[in-house]
């Protein structure tokens, strides 16, 4: 009786334990797993083939010209435009500014929370609110909050004698505003992961450090930080991957503007594909993103994350 492996790994070893159910062996497994796998495969592979096909052609919806093969032309054209490099820079800004800030602030808040005994659960619940909301709702809650004329923030700042900018509409402040909203929405996730890490450190460890005469600062850097590293890694990878996804808040708050200032790769892809129906170009951009994301994630996983620790982190964070 051989086992089904569906192309992954070695066949399962049976530890000599007799199986009562006969008809539900290998065929049963396939029957159970099959529908889901087929569904996922169809929806992963079919559109992907379309994507590859489109990226090598002059696929444009608006122009009724026959589609022709352009080879790597779309990729070449993209790499030559300033807009591509600009949107890459904006994406990088989210990954390199927003994500580290979220890690830092998340650590601060996690330490704060870990330091209080009363009301920790309540604080945590309330602080988690932003990440539970639909990004679209977040987008226009902030739009309303930051509105230069009717918004409370600018009214407050004006009352205090400042002359605040028009945030999302300002060329200078648009990107920082988006970064702020991203931080506002997703720092809670980092916080909860790091808090799980902090809570997983037994109090014995702190006591031992104290007995050894280590100061609070020393304890933090030599004892707590190393033990938190896997949690940091998990938070970093998750947020790094997600930083490529930022779209909804850009769509609502700035529409990529003013001009094209706040267009990241995701928004640029959308704009090319569904703003101008240049599916060839847009498809090529999707593939570039896929490659960048895969490379980035692989690099990070290799250098930072210990994947074996991830299930533990998941469980602690869920507590």
């Amino acid at each position: 009786m051989s086992d089904v492996t569906i192309g992954y790994g070695r066949p399962r070893k049976r530890g000599g334990k007799p199986r009562a159910a006969k008809g539900s062996g290998d065929r049963g497994t396939l029957l159970l797993l099959g529908p889901a796998l087929v569904f996922l495969a169809v929806f992963a592979i079919w559109p992907f083939c379309y994507l590859i096909y489109a990226s090598f052609t002059s696929y444009q919806m608006a122009i009724p010209v026959p589609i022709h093969w352009v080879g790597l032309g779309n990729f070449e054209a993209l790499l030559k435009t300033a807009r591509f490099w600009h949107s890459l820079a904006i994406t990088a800004a989210f990954a390199l500014i927003s994500v580290p800030l979220q890690l830092l602030i998340g650590l601060g808040v996690a330490l704060l929370l870990n330091g209080v005994t009363r009301g920790r659960e309540l604080y945590a619940s309330l602080l988690l609110t932003p990440m539970m909301l639909a990004p679209i709702v977040v987008g226009f809650a902030w739009e309303l909050f930051l509105n230069p004329i009717y918004g409370p923030l600018n009214a407050l700042l004006k009352g205090m004698g400042f002359s605040p900018p028009a945030w999302a509409q300002s060329p200078v402040w648009a990107l920082p505003t988006l970064v702020l909203v991203d931080i506002w929405q997703w720092t809670p996730l980092v916080m909860v992961i790091l808090l799980a890490g902090l809570r997983s450190i037994p109090s014995r460890v702190y006591e031992a450090a104290k007995v050894d005469g280590s100061s609070a600062v020393q304890t933090f850097f030599h004892v707590v930080t190393p033990m938190l590293l896997p949690y940091f890694a998990v938070a970093f990878v998750l947020r790094f991957i997600d930083s490529f996804k930022v779209f909804d808040i850009i769509y609502i708050l700035t529409r990529g503007g003013p001009g094209t200032i706040t267009q990241n790769l995701a928004y640029y892809t959308y704009d090319l594909g569904f703003g101008r129906f240049e599916f060839g170009r847009s498809g090529a951009l999707s593939i570039i993103q896929l490659i960048l994301l895969t490379l980035g994630t692989m690099l990070i996983l290799k250098f930072v994350a210990k994947r074996d620790l991830a299930p533990k982190v998941t469980k602690e964070a869920a507590r």
Partner: protein, 289 residues
């Protein structure tokens, strides 16, 4: 025990300890300020929803509505909110049911029968890591070809694709925690496999099914990009209704706020109830081994 050790060793007090009461007070102050920062935009939205038209455009804005009104809710409902809620309910519920029907057997197979499941479930979950903008063009072209563009079925299938990996993963985790001996006992008793499913496995995994179902509903309810790209005028989910309302007319902030409140209210209550599972699912991508 630890108290005794501490007294015996008489360690120098750390910075954290010496601050004592003041430190605790400072911490609570900081946390309260953070909570205010986290809730301010939401609360402002809530306040706005109760303002009558005239007060919406006063500058500087009034902190609380002077003449609170519910008119925005009924108006918001009729300008697209109601439609959005209906379509979102249809799409989210159907895709969730489909996710559970496809996902439960697969999760069972991964949890019980299929030994090298680690790699396979990691592969399945990694589908979820993709930024939706990457598959969406392929989806769009495929949907155009199949006549699924701007249909309920199309969006339901897209959301099923989006949520199925997570549902499988969560359910597999759950099933793994049900003792195997229950099923073995049923088998020894000679019960046919579908009885075992119906009488033992399904009831025991009911909490898991509920969790996975609600999470899948929530993600479908909140999703925007797929519904923006894959539908036109026929299917208008709530996020899309909000965006349309916001971008194509002079926004009536009160109505917008009212739709927003209705859109997020039930979800917020649910998410407070299921916080631990929610966090689990957010961190699931890396737990797929």
């Amino acid at each position: 025990m630890s108290a005794i050790t501490q007294r015996a060793a008489a360690p120098p007090k750390t910075a954290v300890e010496t601050t004592g009461l003041v430190g605790t007070a400072l911490r609570h102050t900081a946390l309260i300020l953070l909570v205010i920062f986290c809730l301010a935009p939401i609360v402002w939205l809530l306040i706005t929803a109760f303002k009558p038209y005239g007060e919406l455009f006063s500058s500087p804005p009034t902190l609380l509505p002077i003449h609170p009104t519910l008119v925005n809710f009924s108006a918001g409902w009729s300008v697209g909110g109601g439609r959005g809620i209906r379509d979102s309910l249809i799409v989210a519920t159907s895709s969730t049911i489909l996710c559970l029907i496809l996902g439960f057997p697969a999760a069972y197979a991964l949890a019980r029968r299929f030994a090298p499941h680690g790699q396979l479930s990691f592969t399945i979950l990694s589908l979820r890591m993709l930024p939706p903008i990457v598959p969406v063009i392929g989806f769009y072209l495929m949907f155009q070809k199949l006549g699924l563009y701007d249909t309920y079925v199309g969006l339901i299938l897209a959301y099923t694709f989006m949520n199925l990996p997570l549902v499988i993963w969560l359910l597999a985790e759950f099933i793994r925690q049900i003792p195997r001996s229950y099923e073995d006992a049923a088998r020894v008793d000679g019960a046919p496999w579908h009885w075992m499913f119906r009488d033992i496995l399904l009831p025991l995994s009911a909490p898991g099914i509920t969790t996975a179902g609600i999470l899948s509903m929530m993600f479908a309810w909140n999703e925007f990009l797929f519904s923006l790209v894959l539908t036109g005028d026929h299917v208008i989910t709530l996020p899309k209704a909000l965006a349309d309302f916001f971008l194509f007319q002079e926004p009536n902030w009160g109505q917008l706020g009212a739709i927003g409140i209705v859109a997020m209210g039930p979800l917020l209550i649910l998410s407070y109830l299921m916080q631990r599972y929610l966090i689990r699912s957010f961190t699931a991508e890396l737990g797929g081994r």
